[in-house]
């Protein structure tokens, strides 16, 4: 019933879910674009602050959930940033050093990646995957591709539950007690999941035939709230961020 994907849960329970994808798309993708296009200071930093304010404010993600969602990208950013910061050379034996150029690049990268990640969160935490797919449909991505993607989303929820149930059952019977047992358990689990996904698809096909399924999985889109005020505000905010970032070296 609950597969515990914190981002998915946040998106479904966000007050912004009812907003139209057009409005959210302009703001969130605009922020993301600003994060990677503008100079990290002050452009990226501004995007990071704005995104954080949106996430904790109107999108209502909450601190604890944000930390739970954010630690994985944070760790991967830190590893990458550290790798950039340290320089290697092997002309006269392997040498590691930290140069000014390397440090500067690393700081810029850290700010940009953090800003972009937070900007991406504004979209991911306010918009369920299925609404994004509906948006892609409107962008003329062919129907069969959208239907397959939507089904992947639906199947994944059940399959994740199965995966954790199988893991718990194997653990209870000491399936991860040593390396040999772990490999055996993992392979049995993966094979069982594969067969289960197949079985699930066949049974659903049967069930859908009774509801008139022939060649398309059409559904009606729920109504979404469009707001020109929201849209105008978003554009204004993005223009302000861009203008400030570009004029920063001049005014300073």
């Amino acid at each position: 019933m609950s597969h515990g994907l914190a981002l998915d849960h946040a998106a479904w329970s966000s007050p912004w879910r009812a907003r139209s994808l057009r409005d959210k798309g302009v703001l969130c993708l605009g922020l993301l674009l600003a994060a990677i296009c503008l100079p990290p200071v002050p452009g990226g930093a501004a995007v990071a602050v704005i995104s954080l304010a949106l996430l904790l404010g109107p999108i209502r993600v909450g601190w604890t959930r944000l930390l739970r969602i954010g630690w994985l990208p944070l760790v991967s950013i830190l590893i990458g940033v550290a790798t950039v910061a340290v320089s290697v050379s092997w002309a006269d034996g392997l040498r590691l050093e930290v140069t000014d150029a390397g440090t500067a690049a690393a700081v810029q990268l850290a700010v940009r990646a953090l800003a972009a990640t937070l900007a991406m969160f504004t979209l991911a935490c306010s918009t369920p995957m299925i609404d994004l797919l509906a948006g892609l449909r409107r962008l003329r991505v062919p129907d069969p591709l959208i239907e397959i993607a939507a089904l992947i989303y639906r199947f994944s929820a059940g399959l994740l539950d199965s995966a954790s149930a199988i893991h718990a059952a194997q653990d209870a019977r000491l399936g991860f007690v040593n390396r040999t047992a772990t490999m055996r358990s993992a392979s049995m689990g993966v094979a069982a999941l594969f067969l289960r996904s197949w079985d699930r698809a066949r049974r659903l096909e049967d069930g859908l035939a009774g509801r008139g399924y022939t060649d398309a999985l059409r559904t009606l889109e729920p109504a979404r709230r469009r707001s020109s005020g929201f849209l105008a505000g978003s554009v204004l905010l993005l223009v302000a961020v861009t203008a400030t970032a570009l004029s920063w070296p001049v005014t300073r």
């Binding site: 639906r154 859908l208 999985l217 889109e221």
Partner: protein, 275 residues
């Protein structure tokens, strides 16, 4: 929805060597509550699937208002607007991400306009009292809620007859109460309701009439009569409902006894005094 007469005559279904149904006769009472009883593996699901047109019988025929079911594309399409089947496992039927989208699937396949589809979705959700779930993701719903969403999906096709496979299986007492309320709402909306179940206590209480599956054959009749007959329930690999066991142990005739209150009423005259 007007009532239409669904019936089956001389129905036989074989899968390979195995005979699942053998010359089964059934006439579904219009606008009534029919419970189809049988043990697991007795062919209940196959019978429902045959009635819904999903399985083509090896012999015999399914009829609506006396007209044979036509297994061509158009015939099946028309049949699905008369008869809808709700599978035991709601996940075999629910494919969309949220409730609103899922329930809209069937009516869209009927080629209705968006306005009509929306109206049908709203009606189906209202009948099942799950309007508040419309925008919820299906994977976050409880089992009982998913069961009702699956029914809403079938109901949105506005069938005259709704076949439900084990609608109360896995539900706790409160879930059963909610399901009963949903079934009552269906009946009030002029839908004929057929349930397949092995829960004899529930079936006896709920149904107007019952059909018992034994060795691929159907016996139809009143609940107390059929389910109170030790020979019938034994050969169907079922058991007698508890209230009928009590009645039998005390020597009362089963007729009219369907639940605790009717048992108590039948018993009262024979008590020394109100205890």
């Amino acid at each position: 929805m007007s009532h239409r007469q669904l019936s089956a005559h001389g129905l036989s279904v074989r899968f390979g060597e195995r005979t699942v149904l053998a010359d089964a006769e059934l006439s579904v009472p219009r606008g009534g509550r029919l419970a189809l009883l049988g043990a697991n593996g007795s062919g209940k699901t196959t019978l429902l699937r045959t009635l819904s047109g999903a399985v083509r019988p090896s012999a015999g025929r399914v009829q609506v208002d006396g007209v044979d079911l036509d297994y061509g594309r158009a015939g099946l399409r028309a049949h699905r607007q008369v008869v809808q089947l709700v599978a035991q496992n709601p996940d075999d039927q629910l494919f969309a991400a949220d409730v609103f989208r899922d329930v809209s699937f069937g009516p869209l396949n009927l080629g209705l306009t968006e306005v009509e589809v929306r109206a049908r979705v709203d009606r189906a959700l209202a009948v099942l009292s799950i309007e508040d779930l419309a925008e919820r993701p299906i994977h976050e719903l409880s089992f009982g809620q998913r069961k009702r969403v699956a029914i809403a999906g079938a109901l949105a096709m506005e069938p005259c007859v709704l076949l439900l496979d084990e609608p109360t299986a896995g539900l706790d007492p409160q879930g059963v109460d909610e399901m009963v309320a949903a079934l009552d709402a269906l009946l009030a909306a002029d839908t004929t309701v057929v349930i397949a179940t092995h829960e004899v206590d529930f079936a006896l209480w709920w149904a107007d009439s019952v059909a018992v599956l034994r060795d691929g054959r159907l016996s139809c009749g009143s609940g107390p009569e059929l389910l109170g007959d030790p020979e019938v329930v034994a050969s169907a690999r079922l058991r007698r409902p508890i209230v009928l066991q009590v009645a039998a142990a005390l020597g009362l005739a089963p007729s009219g006894i369907t639940e605790v209150s009717s048992l108590v009423a039948a018993l009262s005259p024979h008590l020394v005094r109100k205890l």
